[in-house]
């Protein structure tokens, strides 16, 4: 067996982390993307820039600040401790929080593009056909933005699978709790276990290629609003 129990544990943990992160990002990212796509407020620029920050910042920078904020001396950490929740650093919850922030632009931007492409007209049509704004969102916007949701989910999931710096900074390296595949590969290489590193790295490579293949193959000229 080329993969041992700790490798499988890392894969399972990575899968759990990416799934949960993607789910949270879809819930949180949809209203943010909707707002960014439609608002005329001056806050659009600053909010858009903050959401896009993880695209350019080194993951270690994000991880560093999260560590400070979520740690026992940080303002979020102190709040969670005061609420009796303890601190989330070096825990799975901490990883989820870090991943949500780190992968945010990969979910928000495809959704924002999808919402912008729909335009005002379908919503106006729906309103003249008695649909409330929420009804229009569910029955018109969501189906029309479906390709955007698919892209956002794939990118959000894949990008979370591929993170390393943030995880290491705020999650550390605790087996079955915070040791994800990318960290596990790092450990193998450090320990000179090249064969095991090969297996895991190769699996990541194949997985990433397949995800991107699915994404680029499905992007045929869809969604024509007539």
């Amino acid at each position: 067996m080329p993969l041992d129990a700790s490798d499988l544990g890392a894969i399972w943990l990575t899968f759990k982390l990416a799934s949960l992160t993607t789910l949270i990002l879809l819930l949180v990212g949809t209203p943010i993307a909707w707002w960014l796509a439609r608002t005329r407020s001056w806050l659009r620029g600053p909010v858009g820039a903050v959401v896009a920050l993880p695209l350019v910042l080194p993951p270690t920078v994000i991880g560093f600040y999260l560590l400070l904020a979520l740690g026992p001396n940080g303002w979020i950490g102190q709040t969670t401790e005061a609420l009796g929740l303890g601190t989330v650093v070096f825990s799975f919850s901490g990883l989820v929080i870090g991943s949500v922030i780190y992968s945010m632009p990969f979910v928000v931007q495809p959704l924002q593009n999808a919402f912008s492409a729909i335009g005002e007209r379908p919503l106006e049509v729906a309103a003249t056909l008695r649909a409330t704004p929420w009804d229009s969102f569910v029955h018109v916007v969501l189906p029309l933005a479906r390709p955007g949701f698919i892209t956002a989910s794939i990118l959000g999931f894949a990008h979370t699978v591929g993170e390393f710096g943030v995880v290491l900074m705020i999650g550390g390296n605790i087996p079955d709790k915070t040791r994800v595949v990318s960290v596990q590969i790092f450990d193998h290489v450090e320990a000179m276990e090249y064969l095991q590193a090969h297996w895991l790295a190769g699996a990541m490579l194949v997985f990433s290629f397949l995800v991107l293949l699915a994404l680029y193959s499905s992007r045929s000229g869809k969604s024509a609003w007539s």
Binding site: R121, P122, E124, V125, A126, A127, T128, L129, R130, A131, T132, P133, D135, H139, V140, P143, L144, R146, S223, A224, W225, S226
Partner: protein, 359 residues
């Protein structure tokens, strides 16, 4: 009764109108692009919120800016037809048609799916996706979809403007059927004079955000002081009833309203009493002092000159004529006017070279 007082001021555009439209029939908002007609329609629908507005339809107040009252568009019992069909691409024709229908209370549904489909001739399209429809078919579906939300007011924003000539001719008869068979008032935005002449009962002329004229179509088209009378298409509308038919010559006689005068045109037979709308172009009417017995011109009516005015180019004169209660317009050369000694009250004979049936 529709009452809309609207004030909109934007950087490049100002709208200030007070519209009183009849509670039945088709009211046309007519004007050049940029005259504010679409903005009026969007304010009626609530798709735009005019900063200063009072909108009352059939006794319900939809907007009253002084009290801060604004009824959201989805709460207004309207049907709206956009310039482009704007069908939902993710739904079938059936899904599009029933979108509004499913969102109103069953007891409020006045139009059934079958009725709407029959009225617009789209029964055979129900399972299709919008992307597979022609422009004309898609627009008919759009109109049926609006009808199926059982509106108390139908609003149409240049529903034919995006279509080519044949597609327009395909849809116009359906719009006429709506007019004849439905009791719903319709506000129709257009910049095409032929559509307006064919469909409208009431005409509002908009120019740079102001109402230039508003009144019954026949009287408004015949007004010499409006730019309508200046155009090449200038002419009048006459609502006549079939009063005779000569099978030998296949000539249909149409009685002018409230008069014994008759206009004749070559046409297949129609039932006596059928109401028809005719257009008589100003350039097709010539004037003479006496009845000329020998002429190929079919229609020669005794008329009285009720007004005249120089046309935009100074070579022509526009003359309005009273033909026993019906108004005609004639566009004649200034030379001819001088030869006739044209003056108000003068008795003349109008020779009408052609009469167009508008359906």
């Amino acid at each position: 009764m529709i009452h809309a007082r609207l004030k909109v001021a934007r950087d490049d555009f100002e709208l200030d109108v007070d519209l009183q439209l009849p509670g039945r029939g088709i009211s046309a908002l007519f004007g050049h692009s940029g005259s504010g007609k679409t903005t009026c329609l969007r304010c009626l629908a609530g798709l735009e919120r005019a900063p200063e507005a009072y909108i009352e339809v059939n006794g319900q107040i939809w907007q009253d800016s002084r009290r801060g009252h604004f009824l959201a568009p989805h709460l207004r019992p309207i049907g709206y037809v956009f310039q482009e069909p704007s069908l939902f691409p993710h739904l079938s024709v059936h899904g599009n048609l029933t979108f509004g229908w499913r969102r109103i209370a069953p007891q409020a549904r006045k139009v059934s799916l079958d009725q709407a489909c029959a009225l617009l001739g789209i029964e055979h399209l129900l399972e299709r996706k919008p992307a597979t429809l022609s422009g004309g078919e898609a627009q008919r579906v759009g109109i049926a979809r609006a009808l199926l939300s059982s509106p108390q007011l139908l609003l149409m924003d240049e529903p034919l403007a995006a279509l080519d000539g044949p597609r327009k001719r395909e849809i116009l008869p359906y719009l006429e059927r709506l007019h004849d068979e439905l009791e719903i008032p319709l506000v129709y935005v257009s910049h095409a004079q032929d559509e307006v002449a064919r469909l409208a009962d009431h005409l509002v002329l908009l120019e740079q955000g102001k109402v230039q004229a508003s009144g019954p179509i026949a009287a408004t088209l015949a007004r010499l002081d409006l730019p309508l009378a200046q155009g090449d298409d200038a002419g009048v509308i006459i609502e006549g009833r079939v009063s005779s038919y000569e099978p030998g010559y296949q000539l249909l006689g149409l009685q002018l309203p409230g008069s014994d005068l008759e206009l004749r045109l070559a046409h297949e037979p129609l039932a006596l009493g059928t109401a028809l709308r005719l257009k008589v172009q100003a350039r097709d009417v010539s004037l003479s002092l006496a009845q000329e017995a020998h002429s190929s011109i079919l229609n020669r009516l005794p008329v009285r000159v009720s007004g005249h005015r120089p046309a935009d180019n100074s070579a022509h004169v526009l003359v309005s004529l009273d033909a026993d209660g019906s108004v005609l317009l004639a566009r004649i050369t200034r030379y001819s006017a001088d030869q006739l000694g044209l003056h108000s009250g003068q008795q003349l004979v109008a020779q009408i070279k052609s009469v167009a049936l508008l359906g």
